[in-house]
């Protein structure tokens, strides 16, 4: 049903990335995992995914920086939905991410199905 759509998962905790991949693959998505910020940025620009799930606290480049780079004017991902999934839950941290251009902000911990529902929601809004 979602065959062919690509989702990039930027998450330094490998088990979390792996669980997300499994769940998304089951729904027919193609997934790409990136384990640090630099990799996440590079892979996003290369593969132009349909959506990005982005952690904030990552080695090498922090998620907010990645987001800012993705949202730069001539970036191929300037319109790609970005779902931030982070343990940071302070209001200013959420605001910072939203101002940087996040489509949605989810705070850890969450069950996989809830995360997936939010991702699908974002994709639906985009296709409309």
């Amino acid at each position: 049903m979602h065959t062919g759509k690509t989702i990039l998962i930027a998450e330094d905790e490998r088990p979390i990335a792996a669980f997300l991949e499994k769940a998304l693959n089951r729904l027919g998505f193609i997934t790409i995992a990136a384990y640090n910020g630099e990799e996440a940025l590079k892979e996003s620009l290369k593969h132009k995914p349909d959506a990005i799930i982005l952690d904030i606290l990552m080695p090498k480049l922090n998620g907010i920086e990645v987001l800012k780079k993705l949202r730069e004017e001539n970036s191929v991902c300037s319109k790609t939905p970005v779902i931030v999934l982070s343990a940071l839950d302070k209001l200013y941290q959420i605001r910072e991410a939203m101002e940087a251009g996040a489509t949605k902000y989810l705070t850890k911990p969450m069950f996989t199905e809830d995360i997936i529902r939010e991702v699908l929601e974002c994709l639906k809004t985009r296709t409309l």
Binding site: I16, F19, N36, T112
Partner: protein, 670 residues
Amino acid sequence: MFENADAIGTDKFYNSRILSYYIKLFRDKYPHVDISDLLSFAQIEQTAIDDPFEWFTQEQIDKFFERLFKYFENPYDIAREAGRYIYSDKGLGLWKKFTLKLFGVGNAYKNIGWYARAITRSCTFSSRELASNKYEVKVTFKVKESPHQAFTRLGILEAAPRMYSDKMARVESSTQGDTTTYIIAWDAAKSELVEKFMLRFSLAAPISILAMLLAVNSTAAIYSTILFVFIFLSLMAIQLKLRCLELTHLYENYEQSAETIIQSYIEDYEQVNILNRIGRIVLRSNSAESFLPAVSDTLRSMNYTKVSFFVSAYDDECIVQKFNDGYTQQLSGFRITVEAVAKLKPLLAPPTVIADFADLEKNLPIGLSSGFTTADFPLVFVPIVSDAASLGFFFVTPEKSLLPFVKKKLDFLVGVASHIALGLHKQQAFHDIAESDRVKSNFISTASHELKTPIQVMMMGLSEIEQGGDIAENILSLKAVVSKMKEYVDNLLSLQRIENKAYSLDLHPFTPNEVFEKLKDEMHNTAKAFSHQVRFVGFSSNRPTILGDLTRLSVVLMNLFGNSCKFTPKAGMIVVAYDHDATEHRITVLDNGIGISKTDIDKVFIKFYQAAGAIDGFSGFGLGLSISKEIVALHNGYISVISPLLINKHGLELDHIRIGTSMTVHLPRK
């Protein structure tokens, strides 16, 4: 030694006149004293006081005196004043004053025994002339008197010259057995001699006039009368003039001493005022940067020309110069280490005045001389001390008007130094509070983040099982996450126990070989996950025993080993080595990883600090090294770090292996 009352024939030793002087004094000067209360307390009738034939017992006058504590702070002063009152104009009365004046001050002392008999039976007086204005008076006691009586007697003895002048006699006393000897000396006023002569002349003149009238004739008598009147008036004029001069002189003296006193009060007041102002400045501010310039300005307003502070900086173990008023540039940024300060005794001593360069070198051999010019001397060196520890010092150069630099001014500067010490303490306290706040909030956010991640994994694992994922596989990863969480919680609790000093060691002797046996499997397993090689060196069986807590030290070594694994790229090499010398055991964990940068080296032992560059997916909690440091410190040891990055960016090579980081646990041999 003393006769008893029966031997004297009565127990009433003291004439009412003694107490009547007290009463007169109170009525005259101290109306707050309730005289009837006083007398009734001493069980003395009001009328008895006015009756010169009444005598009182020791008990009565002691009671009388005891009651004075109700009205005066120091009744002994009042006893002395009552004694002096006897020779005042009001105390003497006109007739007695005339007769006493007629014979002069010396006579008053000469006949003191005769006067004394009229007021006391408790002792006898004898006197001897030592010089025209110096007498010796001996008092022999028949019964033991109370201390207040000695004060009254002292007042009487010193007050006799008051008949003529405003100066009192100087009295020295010594007691031997039941006799007290007083040596009394006074400065005879010139007017006294003239007045004495005039009084005698005024008595002699009518007699000689009468004699002349009878023996010669009335004309002679009239002429001599005129002559006598002329002489008398002249004497009177001379006496008045002398008295006037004496009084003027006295007044001038008073005026001068009053001025001195007022001046010194003004100075004291100003100093207190300035100290208050400095106190307020320090109170209002939380940092030396803001209050020291204000203190410096305030001191300069008091004619201290140059002010320079050297205070301890809380962030560095050193004393730094904070402000540099007028000194040469070389001295700015001047630093003195805390060790240097500890060696200098003057830094804990009271302030000293430093006269010149030689004096400075002698008193403060810390190479400060380059900062001063000859014009800066004399300067005052003031240590800032708190709880017998030096917080720094300051220099001031007082203007010439402030010299000589007396103790009072030094005391003032001590006061300034105390305020500065308080200010520095306050600054330190604010800094500590801010720091501990920062650490605490850092802790909470780090801890919550670190706990949320494993919970996230657990929740996803459960979701996965629900979605039909492989149960056995998911449970395996859930177990791994739970173990990691347990490790984290254990670390947090250990750290808290160490910080609360509730962490005790279980000390046993063990050999380095036991360490190897205990850790080799765990280390090999850990290394396998990273494809690292592990080499053990020096853990042979003939090594000296170590006294320590093997379990805790294993935690330390596993922490060091784990860090080496995490900060070494895959398929690296980790060496664990033991060696020792006469004083210590050393266990080193060495790797060929990425090393520790200069910025990280100072921070790796700080709680929650995580160095960048860990192998992806293996970042830690930032607690391992701080716990390790504490555990080794509990063994009286320490951890040393060598990273070639500190020496050059290419690193060092040892047996063709590039060294990344080498951490060594040093444990003392006891």
